[in-house]
Structure formats: C-alpha cells, structure tokens
C-alpha cells in the first residue's frame, strides 16, 4: 500500500492522573508514532495492559492525550482539550470496541441502522446496504431479535456491521474477536476479510494474538509493555485473498511469527 498517510499518530503520550496513595502518575503510552495509508489494514500487537484500548480511545477522540498529535488527512484532531474532543471525528473514524455495546432495547436491525438514523442518513439506499451487510455476515432471520437473544458471535457481527454500515474512511477495532471461541473467531475473521476486500477501508486492528495479526494485516506493529511505544514493524507480504484456515502452513508464516514473537514481551 502506498500513497499519502490517511491517519498519522505523532509522538502520542498518555498518562492518567495520580491517584491518592499512589506516588507518581503512570505513563500508559509514551512517544508513540505511526501512520496508516488509505486502504491499509494495519494490525497492532501488544501484551495485555499495554495501553492498546487507550490508544484507540485517543484516536477515536473519546479520550484526551497528554501529549503528541493525531492527524487525519494532515489535519490536526483536537485531542488535548476534553471539551473540544470530537468523538468519531465527524463520523470519519468508526470504532468497533472490545464489548459489542449494542443497545439492549433495540433489535439487531435497529442497532445496525442506529448510526444512519442519528446521522440522518437513513434512506432506501442505505437501508438496502444495511440489509446486504446483515445477509453477508449471516444475521438474516435475526433482524428482529434483541441482543440478549443472540450468541456472542452474532452480537460481534452485529456490532461490526453497525460500523461498516455508515462507511467511515477509518475503522478502529479493539480485539473485537477476543472473547470468542476459536471456530467462531476464524469464521468472523473470514467475514471481516471478505467485507474488507469489497470496500478496502483503512483498518487499525488491535489484538494480542500474533497469528490473528499476521492473518489479517498488510502490516503489523508490535507495542512494548507500558508505557507503550513501537517495538517493531513488520510488512506482511502474503498474497490476498488469504485463506485464514490455511495461513499457518504458508512458508512465510512461521519465520514471521518467530520474529514477532521475539519482540512481544
């Protein structure tokens, strides 16, 4: 992937305020820089507690940064002042969080249509697109079910297409498949790749699973333990479309896995 970086993270830092009884405020992220180009699938690997969610929260503009900058199409995002934060950067950054965060009182279909509704973009065309996505991830027939009536995998699918439905140029994903069983996880990874091949969005996908990071990404970043910074960067050159189930047997896989493994502490 070449071209102008769509999103730049520049020397980003975050520390949480000192709590009573704890001497120094802890730095969660310090001097973190990277960029993503348009249409790139970037994966980020980090040990648990390395500030991955904090990083995505800052990029999504629901949390402030203690230092550094985030630029979208070379424009500075107002990231330092809590009052100026613009969550989702005017619908240009979508965010699939770790929990599905579906509205429990809304049906699957209503949940998927939610962003379109609040953005005032619900019309026949976008509705048809939403229905296409629902079919594409196998949720057809469950449109009128409430979240608690769906399985964990189905809820994840619903939350995934709720972000895809309004087509934000950048999508952040925070270990979206972390809590699923291996079978459902592989299925969802395949669904995600298929949907991505259709639209080629820019995706920043955070995970602690090295195999997942390799299987999905064009490029992967390895984070250090907190305070997080970049420990290493690896281009993943395996051709697309990829076969998730067979990727482990690809000749490049094992050496890449070993190299990343060595950097993950």
């Amino acid at each position: 992937m070449t071209g102008q970086p769509l999103l730049e993270v520049d020397d980003l830092s975050k520390r949480f305020a000192a709590r009573a009884g704890r001497d120094a405020p802890a730095w969660v992220i310090q001097g973190l820089s990277f960029s993503v180009s348009d249409g790139e699938f970037l994966t980020i690997i980090g040990p648990s507690g390395s500030g991955k969610t904090t990083l995505l929260n800052m990029i999504a503009q629901i949390d402030t940064a203690s230092g550094g900058a985030v630029r979208f199409q070379s424009q500075l995002a107002p990231i330092a002042d809590p009052k100026a934060l613009n969550p989702g950067l005017s619908c240009r950054i979508g965010y699939v969080t770790q929990e599905d965060n579906l509205l429990p009182w809304r049906t699957t279909l209503q949940n998927v249509l939610f962003p379109l509704k609040v953005q005032g973009r619900l019309n026949d065309k976008t509705r048809a697109h939403a229905e296409m996505l629902i079919r594409a991830v196998g949720l057809a027939g469950f449109e009128r079910h409430y979240p608690h009536e769906l399985s964990g995998g189905m809820r994840k699918r619903a939350s995934l297409i709720r972000t895809l439905v309004y087509d934000p140029p950048v999508i952040l994903m925070d270990e979206p498949f972390g809590a699923l069983d291996a079978q459902t996880r592989t299925q969802l990874q395949e669904d995600l790749l298929r949907l991505w091949e259709l639209g080629r969005k820019t995706i920043i996908f955070v995970t602690h699973d090295i195999a997942e990071a390799i299987a999905l990404g064009d490029r992967t970043l390895v984070l250090t333990r907190a305070p997080a910074s970049i420990a290493g960067e690896h281009a993943i050159t395996m051709p697309r479309p990829r076969d998730i189930r067979g990727i482990m047997t690809h000749p490049d896989f094992s050496s890449l896995y070993q190299r990343i493994r060595a950097q993950v502490q």
Binding site: I62, P87, G88, Y95, T97, N101, V118, Q119, H148, E149
Partner: protein, 272 residues
C-alpha cells in the same frame, strides 16, 4: 422473549398446569374466607364501627347508578392525574437538566436530598394558606409526593447509564439530544417504572387526603363526609372504591411496563 415464552408454554407438562389450577382455586377460597371474616367481624363490631360487605357492595351499586360515585371518582382521578403529570414532568426533566451541569448538581444535591425528609402532608396547612382552598393546595401535595420518588429514581438512573454506550453513540455521530433520547432515556426506563409503582398509588392517596382537608367533592370528601354523618357503610364504600382504583391503575402500569421492557431478559418467576 415472547417467542421462547410461547414455545415454553406449549411444552409445559400437565402437572404444572394442574398446579396452576390449584393456585387459582386456592385464591378463590382465600377470597371467600376473607369475605366471611369481614362479614363476621363487621357483625360482631356493630354497624357504627364496621360495615357489612354486602351492604357496602349494595351502596357502591346504588351510588354508581345515581351517578354520584362516578362524579367523586372523576374528581379524585382528575386531581391525581394532573398532580401526577406535574410531579412526573419535573421529576424527569430536572435530572436531565442537571446532567448537563455536573458542578451545579454537586452543589444542589445535598439540599434536594435534605428536602426529601420534609413530611409533605405537614405542608398542607401552608399550601392552603398560600394557594387558597381550590385545587391548588391539593395539586401541590400530589405533585410533591410524586416528584420525589420519580426524581430520585431518574437521577440514579442517569448516573447508572453505561458510559460505553454513550461513547459508542457519540462516535456513531449521535447529537447530545439524540443520546439523551435514545441511550439515557431507555437506560433509565426500568428505574422510571420502578418509581411509578410508588408514585402512582401515592398520587391517588395524596389526592384523597387532600380532599379530606379541602373541598366538597371527590372520594376523600365522600369518605370524610360519610364519617361525619355516622355513615360507616359510606366510609367503607369509599375505601373499597379507592382501593379498586389503585389496583386498576397498577394493572395498567404493569401492562405499559411490560410493553416497554419487552426487550429485557427478565425471569418471570422473579417478578413481584
């Protein structure tokens, strides 16, 4: 929930259904026993102190036919409904306003919580002094008694809203108004309905007590006036009608609550 509920009902084994019939039969039997106890007790106490249940029923039928009872019910319900609407409106609106002003909230919260402790019925003489003897003092009483449970529940409900849902909605491009309407309001509905279960019967009680003190119409007036004219049957009839009224209101509320909380994975056996 409804679909699974339906299939469960179909699959229900016969013994369970038999048990349900037994429960219904037990209820009817209990009603007969209670009625008999009332009758025996009333006969023992004498007509000055307690009324015969059949005479009470007869009185209710007569007064209904003459239209007098309907008028009293209408007056009380109207008072309760208007007072309830006012109390409810402020009880819901105020927490939503305070949500936007966290510093003001922290400042006024102890005062609001302290004012909960003021016995509202004790304020009626003041209300009469200030607002005269028309509906106004009674509306103040009903309004205040409804306001507090609703306000406290909605206030707690707003504090309890899942931050993650709000963040999700913000990222998805929802305005603050849309978030209030969709996320906050729906999150606190269970709290709101729980408070209504307290507030609605209270509204009727407060209206009746208001009528004891002021005015010449309504169920409260009927009860108090009957007492003053040594008409114990009238007192009992008024109490019976007021009780029935509260029960009907509760049943309607239950229906509405069920409709609004159809999405909730409740355990039906846990319901009160």
């Amino acid at each position: 929930m409804t679909t699974t509920q339906g299939t469960l009902d179909l699959a229900e084994p016969a013994p369970v259904r038999w048990r349900q019939h037994a429960v219904t039969a037990g209820r009817i039997w209990l009603a007969v026993v209670l009625l008999a106890a009332w009758k025996i007790g009333a006969d023992a106490a004498g007509p000055v102190y307690a009324a015969d249940p059949f005479k009470v029923l007869q009185r209710i039928v007569e007064d209904t036919a003459s239209g007098a009872l309907i008028r009293h019910i209408y007056v009380t319900l109207r008072l309760a409904a208007i007072g309830f609407a006012i109390g409810c409106l402020f009880g819901v609106a105020l927490p939503f306003l305070l949500r936007r002003m966290p510093r003001l909230t922290t400042a006024v919260e102890p005062y609001i919580m302290a004012s909960v402790g003021v016995p509202k019925y004790a304020l009626v003489p003041l209300f009469i002094l200030w607002f005269g003897i028309d509906d106004a003092p009674k509306l103040w009483l009903v309004g205040l008694l409804v306001f507090y449970p609703v306000f406290i529940a909605v206030f707690a409900g707003i504090r309890n809203v899942d931050r993650r849902l709000i963040n999700m909605a913000r990222v998805a491009g929802a305005s603050e108004a849309a978030i209030s309407r969709e996320v906050v309001w729906n999150s606190l509905l269970p709290f709101f309905f729980a408070s209504l279960k307290i507030a609605l019967p209270r509204a009727v009680s407060a209206a009746i007590i208001g009528e004891f003190l002021v005015g010449n119409e309504g169920l409260g007036y009927l009860i108090e006036h009957s007492r003053q004219s040594f008409d114990t049957t009238g007192v009992f009839a008024g109490i019976a009608v007021a009780t029935a009224l509260v029960l009907v209101i509760n049943a309607v509320l239950e229906r509405i609550d069920r409709r609004f909380s159809a999405w909730r994975p409740t355990d039906r056996h846990m319901e009160l």
